[in-house]
């Protein structure tokens, strides 16, 4: 124990031997029961405290406890951090921690030569090798020669380090993630203190387990310090220059929840959040269910349809109705979203997209529900469609969704995705009181009241049931203009269809003009993105611009209606590249809307774009049109 303490004290003295890195990508991988996600989040905490910028992404199997040792049971957590602004999860790891053979197997393709691989050799039994699909031991057949392999008996060393705690052999082994964490802490020169504090708080009620985890952590750190393995380099990553302020790490789901809550508060409304469990949307329900003292009622409905219908009922009654799901659930909600279009009530629908069609790949990300959001209803049923670009951006866009829904009496579909929902990044905590308010206005005057009378924005009045003298009936049948009475009159239907359409188009007057994230309107190429492709596009464009190339980045957060200056802005570029995690949905919208020669770049592997993939696409574009 004394050794470990000395190591911590001397951490600063060995900088000379630490290899400098501007940014680093670390991927922890193991069995779904190995505690990989916990390891990742503790490393994230430590990374933030070391003042690096960072982005993280958990990648876990759809099965809750897949059979141990299998490739489909591998759970991973990747973190990209460093001394500059971090916008992506990193294309390829610099360090892979593989806690079993299956974890090595599924991640090997992502590694480039020279990557550090930390292997738990204790798990490399014949049985585990076979389960992972290795016919030969990869440590012996030369297939790992290109990498720096630190083969360490993490299982055995962990057992030895925690033997004194009285845990069973099985329990001892479950501490091995803390050993690995301690080792990686040594690699990146981290302070163990905060994680030890966290462990004491978390496991305080189970003293043996608490002590064992701390002992494993320290043993891992001490191993790095004393092993002197040439394959085990130590790195020094500089702190990033970060805007001063108070920070916390947020996932997209958390930021979304906070944004919805602040939006409801700024509208002066109680929120009624109605949802049904579905991957990867459920975390939003979980976060809000814990915040019921902050102005939200959460309702776990019996199905997706009940969830959206209850949200509509809540909006009708004068609260802010919000429902949340992923693509398959949104399909079920589509009839009811049409009802909200017809009754012209505020409604926020969050779609945390996942790989489809049908059940698809529930835990893998995709952005293939744009068409569904724009068009996926019977009849001409226009809604506002927004998309968040990063985990922290979920906060701002959730507020926007509430603002627009309430001001324009319309359903708003807010698109997130599995990546955004689960990825985390540091978030400078805003001063909520300083953010603008947009109080909802309820109609209370019986004089000349008509439920479908419209103001200059074509918005009808919102009336809370309970208001004396304003009793009226609304529903899904076509309404007569102004009176709201049931009408099958042909000319009235034409007029109402156009009114509903134009009402949503008029939202364009209430959203910001489109700006370029990087570059100028006179540049040659514009990369147009939406949603979670923000990070990789941004990084790829930055790299090209540093080389002097005239490449711009435009990122859409308002997908319907589109920003009023978008057509003009796009027409100035020679080439437009639209990378999307679908078969080309935004590119089709832009081409049909503006008749611009935009080219799509499609990726539907369930994984985010890598920066290198985007750069290759830009290379091809340059070759084709020099």
């Amino acid at each position: 124990m004394a050794v470990v303490d000395r190591v911590q004290g001397e951490a600063g003295e060995e900088e000379g031997v630490r290899q400098p890195l501007e940014t680093a990508v670390v991927r922890f991988a193991g069995d779904s029961g190995d505690g990989v996600q916990l390891t990742g989040s503790l490393f994230t905490l430590s990374t933030a405290l070391a003042h690096h910028d960072l982005t993280t992404f958990p990648d876990f199997p759809a099965e809750i406890r897949a059979p141990a040792g299998t490739t489909y049971g591998v759970s991973a957590f990747q973190i990209h951090f460093g001394g500059r602004e971090i916008r992506t999860i990193g294309d390829r790891p610099d360090v892979l921690v593989a806690l079993n053979p299956a974890a090595l197997k599924v991640n090997l393709d992502d590694l480039r030569p020279g990557t550090v691989i930390i292997l738990d050799t204790g798990s490399f039994t014949e049985r585990n090798l076979r389960k992972a699909g290795f016919t030969e031991d990869p440590r012996e057949d030369g297939s790992l020669d290109a990498y720096r392999v630190a083969a360490i008996d993490i299982s055995g060393l962990t057992r030895r380090a925690v033997a004194h705690t009285g845990l069973t052999s099985r329990e001892q082994l479950r501490c091995k993630n803390f050993f690995a964490l301690g080792l990686v802490f040594w690699m990146f020169d981290r302070d163990l203190g905060p994680v030890i504090d966290w462990t004491r708080q978390k496991f305080g009620r189970k003293p043996a387990l608490c002590e064992a985890n701390i002992a494993a952590l320290k043993a891992g750190h001490a191993f790095g310090e004393t092993a002197e393995m040439p394959q085990l380099p130590a790195f020094r990553v500089p702190p990033a220059s970060i805007e001063p302020g108070l920070y916390r790490a947020v996932t997209g789901s958390e930021a979304m929840a906070y944004g919805l809550l602040d939006g409801a508060r700024k509208a002066g409304l109680q929120m009624t959040f109605c949802s049904y469990p579905i991957t990867p949307a459920s975390p939003l329900l979980h976060v809000l269910a814990k915040l019921r003292g902050y102005g939200v009622t959460t309702f776990q409905a019996e199905d997706e349809i009940a969830a959206v219908c209850a949200a509509i009922g809540a909006s009708y009654a004068g609260a802010l109705g919000v429902t949340s799901s992923s693509g398959p659930g949104i399909s079920l909600k589509s009839e009811a979203i049409g009802l909200a279009v017809m009754t012209e009530l505020p409604l926020v629908v969050v779609n945390t997209q996942r790989a489809g069609p049908s059940t698809g790949m529930p835990t893998k990300t995709e952005q293939s529900d744009l068409f569904q959001a724009l068009y996926g209803r019977n009849g001409d049923a226009p809604v506002v469609v927004l998309a968040a670009a990063s985990p922290a951006d979920c906060f701002a866009m959730a507020r926007e969704a509430v603002r627009i829904a309430v001001r324009h009496m319309t359903p708003v579909i807010l698109l997130s995705d599995g990546f955004l929902a689960n990825a985390a990044e540091p978030w400078r905590i805003p001063d909520l009181d300083a953010l603008p308010a947009f109080p909802a206005r309820f109609h209370t005057d019986p004089e000349g009241f008509a439920p479908y009378a419209r103001d200059e924005r074509l918005v009808r009045p919102w009336v809370r049931p309970g208001t004396p003298g304003l009793q009226h009936r609304i529903g899904g049948l076509e309404k007569r203009h102004e009176t709201g009475e049931v009408s099958y009159d042909p000319e009235n239907h034409q007029r109402m269809t156009e009114l509903r359409w134009n009402k949503v188009l008029k939202v364009a007057e209430d959203i910001p003009e489109q700006e370029l994230e990087q570059g100028d309107p006179g540049d040659r190429i514009c990369v147009v993105g939406w949603g979670s492709t923000y990070g990789p596009i941004s990084r790829a464009v930055t790299t090209r611009r540093r080389r002097g190339e005239k490449v711009a980045h435009l990122h859409l957060r308002y997908l319907w209606p589109l920003p009023r200056n978008l057509g003009d802005l796009l027409s100035g570029f020679e080439r437009i590249l639209v990378p999307e995690m679908n078969k080309g949905q935004l590119v089709q919208l832009l081409r049909s809307r503006y008749l611009v020669p935009a080219i799509g770049l499609s990726k539907v592997s369930g994984r985010p774009f890598g920066v290198a993939e985007l750069e290759q696409a830009l290379d091809r574009l340059s070759e084709e049109c020099p």
Binding site: G293, Y294, Q471
Partner: protein, 339 residues
């Protein structure tokens, strides 16, 4: 309608809309009964909401001078749940037919009943799809010939009241559209704190005329209906000389003839509206046995769903003191970056 100077009359609850049900439809009678109950309870039209799904019955909200929401097929209980979540003070009535609530929306009905949302829920059962022109409904008897079952139905019908009891309803009643005790049954459902569920046997004059004739015809009504009254013996028949007792084999209820000197009376069960087992047996009675008309089960839960949720939220606010989201965000794993 502001602060009415005189008590509102039933007709004051009729909206200005022309009622468009078929002439002779049982729905007219139910509308009248509801208007009467609204007047009786002195309902404030501004604080009353009628929510419906799709179907003939679901046009109901247009004809009542309160707030109204005509939803989509089957979803009225879910919409009404949302209304109550947002504002538990509103007096919410839910209207639907047998297709609406027992077929496409059966799921919502079951979950609304088990949650016990404080609603008055009226299921108009005419054993047929009216608005879509006469197809087979989930309550239609075996063998029913309809445009969608021309060879006769081979599926077993659902019993609305048994469904409600199985779902955990705390108030279950059955009424008949044109019968004079309907307002009293509706009133009892409304007074129940929690979901008051009423199945109304309703005649569809166009597609299923006489579906309930063997229960409702004047000539047979006394023999084919038993009207349970809490604490009273379960007697029926023109002379009330018949009673219901437990079958010796425990299989359910059977008829006992009461002798001229009251022989057999001691075996006749007394209705206990809080007895779930008895409610199950009463709800299951079908011709040739007398059908139970009236309040079959009424056993209020301590608190309705939306009140329980509100209670939790009030507890949370009390625990938090000032529920300040900004302060919450500044707690926990946060770190300061200085210039």
């Amino acid at each position: 309608m502001n602060a009415p100077a005189r008590p509102l009359q039933p007709k004051d609850y009729a909206s200005d809309q022309e009622v468009r049900w078929c002439a002779g439809c049982g729905d007219y009678a139910v509308l009248k009964a509801v208007e009467r109950v609204l007047a009786e309870i002195g309902a404030d039209p501004a604080n009353t909401v009628f929510v419906s799904g799709i179907g003939c019955a679901a046009r109901f909200p247009y004809y009542v001078a309160t707030y109204g929401f005509h939803g989509i097929h089957g979803r009225a209980p879910a919409i009404a749940t949302g209304v109550k979540l947002a504002n538990p003070e509103l007096d919410v009535w839910v209207i639907g037919g047998d297709g609406d609530m027992l077929s496409i929306g059966a799921n919502h009905l079951a979950h609304t009943l088990r949650r016990n949302v404080d609603l008055t829920l009226l299921l108009f059962n005419n054993e047929v799809y009216g608005l879509t022109k006469g197809q087979l409904s989930p309550t239609a008897p075996l063998g029913s010939r309809t445009p969608s079952s021309p060879l006769g139905s081979v599926e077993n019908p659902l019993s609305a009241c048994r469904f409600a009891l199985a779902a955990g309803a705390r108030f279950v009643a059955r009424g008949i559209d044109t019968q004079k005790d309907l307002p009293a049954i509706l009133r009892a459902a409304h007074d129940h704190p929690g979901t008051g569920f009423v199945e109304i046997l309703q005649n569809c004059i166009v597609y299923n005329d006489g579906a309930f004739a063997e229960i409702t015809e004047r000539a047979v009504a006394a023999e084919r209906q038993v009207h349970p009254v809490h604490g009273e013996p379960l007697l029926f028949g023109a002379e009330r000389r018949k009673g219901l007792r437990l079958a010796a084999d425990g299989s359910g209820l059977e008829v006992v003839e009461i002798g001229p000197d009251g022989e057999g009376m001691e075996e006749v069960l007394r209705h206990d509206r809080t007895n779930l087992a008895l409610a199950g047996m009463l709800a299951a009675l079908e011709p040739p046995m007398p059908v139970a008309i009236g309040v079959i089960y009424d056993n209020p839960a301590p608190v309705s769903y939306e009140r329980a949720l509100r209670g939790q939220e009030e507890g949370e606010r009390e625990r938090l003191g000032e529920a300040d989201l900004g302060a919450m965000l500044r707690r926990g794993p946060v770190w300061m970056v200085t210039a």
